[in-house]
Amino acid sequence: MDLSAINPVLLVASLMVAATPILLAAIGELVVEKAGVLNLGVEGMMITGAICGFAVAVETGSPLLGFVGAAAGGAALSLLFVALTQYALANQVASGLSLTLFGLGLSALIGQGYVGKKPPPSARLDIPVLSDLPVLGRILFSHDIMVYAGLALVAGVWALLRFTRAGLILRAVGENHDAAHALGYKVRRIRILAILFGGACAGMGGAYISLLRVPQWVDGMTAGTGWIALALVVFASWKPWRVLLGAYLFGGVTVLQLNLQAAGLAIPVEYLSMSPYLITILVLVIMSSHRSGAPASLGRTFHASQ
């Protein structure tokens, strides 16, 4: 065992990379859930985004356009969820699960022509001078652009929910859709926008895996990341900055686990992999005694006539 082989600076830098896909997907799902909608189809939207982004990047040669395509793909798939839950008033849990099944199949169909291809490389944003700083340079100033985009998104969502009227309305819709409706807010329209935003974010999270972290297209390559993103929203008790903290914690456990193994430490991998979920449950329990938990209308169907 040789723990000195683990470089804490590199560890932090790589956990930021490992955390970015779940961070992107989770911040989107947070907005969806804040609006009172539970979309369990995150995995399906992520994988769809992963292939759409990959395809666009390969065809255009631009990774940035790839991310735009990924966002569009994820949002497009979430339109199905919109149709089901907002227009046909179907159960959200069942609709979300179906969405994941559908997305996994659809992405594999689209991806048939993209197996074994290499996407265009994405430049790392090496900010001159700053990225040469000891410690901080590697951790803060030499990542790809999506890492910063993820951070910016967290800040943006936080500001939106906290300081803007739009954020207030979004929360009102999520807390009590009947009251929000009575006040004249367009509950359905707000929820649709939130769901589309969630789809776009999940799509980008998926594309981060296929374009940057791996980079390659393989069927089902998100391998359950979407489910972790769902857990993350809960872990964060629907607070944007805690999503960031949670993403780094979840990403950190993964990276730390690999580092400890490489350093020769015999660790029970399964039990370490369980820990984020157990911590999430613990957080849920603690939170529920504070009465500041989930949006009150979460998962409930809304129809104006009621």
């Binding site: 539970l38 369990l40 199905l80 149709a83 089901l84 227009y87 046909a88 008033l89 179907a90 159960n91 849990v93 069942a94 609709s95 699960l97 179906s98 969405l99 099944l101 559908f102 997305g103 996994l104 199949g105 659809l106 992405s107 594999a108 169909l109 048939q112 409706h181 367009k186 509950v187 359905r188 329209r189 069927d219 489910w227 769902l230 857990a231 809960v234 029970p268 399964e270 039990y271 992999s273 369980m274 979920y277 157990l278 999430t280 449950i281 849920l284 329990v285 939170m287 529920s288 005694s289 938990g293 989930a294 998962g299 809304f302 129809h303 104006a304 006539s305 009621q306």
Partner: protein, 360 residues
């Protein structure tokens, strides 16, 4: 602009017509998909929906539908009781895994015992395994008011990791050349959940699923508890006046669902699957949630929905090997079927009307 208007009474006509409309719509859109992929759409639809039931080898596929459908129905029945009462257990996959581990664990602990009581004991332990796993979210909700949707979902991942751990360690077959996975219970006569009549597909899990359907029907229609469950879901406040104790109901519904899911896991591991292995769980617990809703939380509906799901699985497999359709195309087709089924359901409770503007 089209607008939905709530019906005073759920439409009887649409309740029966909706699933038919959904299946037909899926055939049309799915057929277009298959044609787009360069396959004969009519042949594909026939292969998926007709061949398993009436094709040349239907004698084999019909029993297989029972094998595939039974765990779905058994789990979905348990879930539907809770869903009706507004109790959202979506962690059946985890309860299924823990039931299988508990039941198989007992069998392997006694290996190579020959005794008639071993299998019944395994069933009980499987049920208890699932029940205890479901009691975690139930107890947390009752004591702390914690959201059971999320806790039960988290526990699925924990159960999956635990499954990997026992496959590699505790339950690993000592004569398996170091490969992960337990002994095969099919080769352990007193623990084997064999077919009751050879070639019929009927194993104890199928029997249990049928009993569960009947019991759930009786419970919901003839028993006070069923009335309480329905009342709690439809009018929670009225339920309290009617003397329903919500905490007890949570424990009961979650416990029942967990026990049935655990039993489903046990029947599967002792029968068709045979072994505890890292990827023993094949998603039955999640698919069962969809089955429960497709069956509109009604026992008979669930039975039919479970069989329909099994049909598309088996038909899809046949289409893969006989027509060269890719597994992803089949998955998309199944997804479509679910979408349409969920979508048309709305017509039972609402009617479409033309309106001037979108009100919502």
């Amino acid at each position: 602009m089209l607008k939905l208007e709530k019906r005073r009474q759920p439409s009887q006509v649409w309740a029966y017509l909706a699933p038919v409309v959904a299946v037909v719509a899926t055939m049309v859109v799915g057929g277009l998909l298959f044609a787009f992929l360069g396959k004969d759409p009519l042949l594909a639809i026939r292969t998926i929906f007709w061949d398993p039931l009436f094709g040349e080898f239907a004698f084999y596929y019909r029993p297989q539908m029972l094998v595939k459908g039974a765990p779905l129905v058994l789990i979905a029945i348990g879930l539907s009781l809770g869903f009706r009462a507004g109790i959202w257990n979506i962690g059946a996959e985890g309860q299924y895994i823990m039931g299988a581990i508990a039941g198989a664990g007992v069998a392997l602990a006694f290996y190579p015992l020959e005794a008639w009581w071993l299998f019944p004991l395994m069933v009980i332990c499987g049920a208890i395994g699932g029940l205890l796993w479901a009691m975690i979210p139930a107890a947390l909700r009752v004591i702390f008011g914690t959201n059971e949707i999320l806790v039960s979902l988290m526990l699925v991942y924990v159960a999956e990791q635990f499954l990997a751990s026992v496959s590699l360690g505790l339950l690993k077959n000592p004569e398996g050349y170091g490969f992960p996975g337990s002994r095969n219970l099919q080769q352990y006569p007193s623990a084997h959940n064999a077919e009751l009549i050879t070639g019929s597909g009927m194993h104890w899990g199928v029997v249990a699923a049928l009993i569960a359907v009947i019991m759930a029907y009786i419970l919901l229609n003839r028993h006070l508890l069923g009335f309480q469950i329905r009342l709690t879901g439809e009018a929670p406040r009225a339920a309290r006046f009617a003397g329903v104790k919500p905490k007890q109901l949570v424990l009961l519904c979650m416990g029942l669902a967990g026990a049935l899911a655990g039993m489903a896991g046990l029947f599967e591991v002792a029968g068709p699957s045979g072994r505890i292995s890292i990827d023993f769980n094949a998603g039955y617990g999640f698919t069962a949630i969809i089955v429960a809703f497709l069956g509109r939380l009604h026992p008979v509906g669930i039975l039919l929905a479970g069989l329909l799901m099994a049909l598309t699985y088996i038909g899809g497999e046949i289409a893969q090997s006989s027509m060269g359709l890719s597994s992803s195309a089949i998955q998309v087709f199944q997804g479509m079927l679910l979408f349409f089924l969920l979508m048309v359901d709305v017509l039972t409770n609402y009617r479409l009307k033309l309106a001037k503007a979108d009100a919502a």
